[in-house]
Symmetry: C2
Subunit: 224 residues, 2 copies
Amino acid sequence: MARQERAIRTRRTILEAAAAVFDERGYTSATIGEILDRAGVTKGALYFHFGSKEELAVGVFEEQLAITLPPQSSKLQELVDSGLVLARRLRSEPLVRASVGLALDQGAMDLDRTPAFRMWFDQNVQRLADAQAQGELLPHVDVAETAELLVGSFSGVQLLSQLRCQRRDLERRVVVMFEHFLPSIAVPAVLARLDISVGRAERVLAQGRVEQGAAVPAQASSGT
Amino acid sequence: MARQERAIRTRRTILEAAAAVFDERGYTSATIGEILDRAGVTKGALYFHFGSKEELAVGVFEEQLAITLPPQSSKLQELVDSGLVLARRLRSEPLVRASVGLALDQGAMDLDRTPAFRMWFDQNVQRLADAQAQGELLPHVDVAETAELLVGSFSGVQLLSQLRCQRRDLERRVVVMFEHFLPSIAVPAVLARLDISVGRAERVLAQGRVEQGAAVPAQASSGT
């Protein structure tokens, strides 16, 4: 294994261990020692990648957004794809689940949770601004307000889905969310062409695997 | 003071104490003893109103919805009013804040938090079904799906507002939420007449106080 590839794997192992420990014990109670035990790596290896418990949390946050999806001619379709794929990954990838759990953990008083939402917000702003630039948005849309609403709504929708049925219906709920939002922001000609269906995420991930090979993690399509 | 009035006040004192203790210590760590100390009532008085810690939690949940707003000719306007007034009360009433905090407390493993969302969902279903019956909704609307989306979105929007700025901009965020949702569910003639403004909650509460006297608690309009 090349050195760089090994470093990427070690980093991922540490993040998965940190996510699992944060998930089980809560951020505040979790210790670096427990994360080391879980990951089975040396202290030196961990500190090579992450300088502190807080940096580990930021790494877990970033993982939620660290996926490259196939580009689409409609930027609103990319926005929809990112939401549906996140819903899919929340069900299949423990690391993504831990990332959202950490961002919403009200007990983590000593952790600044705003970066998690800020990064997600920035990504939505970028997609909406691109959509605006190519004429996909209705004239009155305020990109920042819509981006912030999407982040807030998605957070609450997934929380309710978790409470009601362990997120089994999450993709359907995210479809309902987009069905309610998009008519207020998309020009009709774009709206008519958007694919906002429950099976969309699976197809996008499969397309991504064909086009990009290892860039889309294989576990994104496994699980329930 | 009449006996019934005294009982209502005692019940409210106990609920406020329970809400404060749940808020500070978390539901799981909170004890009936602490709630008694805080409320300054006898054990007998508490158990007359609430049989257990869980019943206290349900009482706190109910308080979030226990407000009668002035009826409107448009049932969608009533839906909007209830959302905007809840946003207003979340900022001004500690008991309402504790109620939402308890519903979203992921650490409260031993508490069934679904009733909180179920009651809120039922209220939204009722308002949407009434709106549908009098022709206010577009034909494709699925009342249950829209009601559930509203509960989820509102929960996430208030959570993000809390994280970003201690809910200072919550009313504005709820306005943005309704502005994005309503064009997808309301017939245009109704949509054009809806008042979805930041100042709406204040006016509705004032109207309620004039019409109903003590039925709308005075503290709903106090605070920041």
